[in-house]
Symmetry: C2
Subunit: 120 residues, 2 copies
Amino acid sequence: MPTASTAFKVYPPRPESPPPLPEPAREDLRLEHVLAALADPLRLTIVRKLLLEAEEFDHPCGWFGIDRPKSSLTHHFRVLREAGVTRQRQYGLERRSHVRIDDLQERFPGLLDLVAAWHP
Amino acid sequence: MPTASTAFKVYPPRPESPPPLPEPAREDLRLEHVLAALADPLRLTIVRKLLLEAEEFDHPCGWFGIDRPKSSLTHHFRVLREAGVTRQRQYGLERRSHVRIDDLQERFPGLLDLVAAWHP
DNA sequence: AGAGCAGTACGATTTTTTTCGAAGCTATCA
DNA sequence: TGATAGCTTCGAAAAAAATCGTACTGCTCT
């Protein structure tokens, strides 16, 4: 049974979506990897922003307005994806991200609420 | 208001307890530090065991039966304490630990439930 | 075709974390 | 008093993570 309280906006997958980049399946998510991915202020910022401000379309990393070299951002987005926190799809030029809300609520109920409540 | 569900055994502080070793105050706990401390299998094992098997007395690190050099254990127990996950007191020769259940439930409700449910 | 854009890949450097041996410290016990 | 127990500190080595410059790729627009 999931933790009752919080519901983040979850949009249905769009039929014409490109396939996700490689990611762990829901049942392969590991708490220690997810915690490690989240144990970084920049990545917490990214995930929190996605949780609180995401709109229907997934977001490319430029959307986040983070002042870091592009290669650093690529790195952090990959860490999040490989831990299973986010999903990334290639839309033409852009690689767009969203949080795997359903998977995470199911496997680690309450964890995303902590991220959403985090204050830098 | 605390998360309803889980209640771990919390024992009252014993009047004659030695003072805790240096640790962050409840209001200074940082999610990113707590997550980093928990993002390690060995430390997850320690915290989970404390949550599930702790008895009235706090436990010295020998109690955990971890097969690692003693200096490694000292390191991991310190990481946990400095992040605010555990409290350590010096009882004569021994440095005994317990999880700061109240503080963590208050600041990061639900997090300890995830640790307790973790499977190595 | 050429320019520009969004972001990736690679690789080097630096920083942080982990690991653990060796030596030290202090209380208790024979 | 010496021996042992239980754990710490120090320090060094190894492993892992973060940072970021440069070069590159693959679309799109003119």
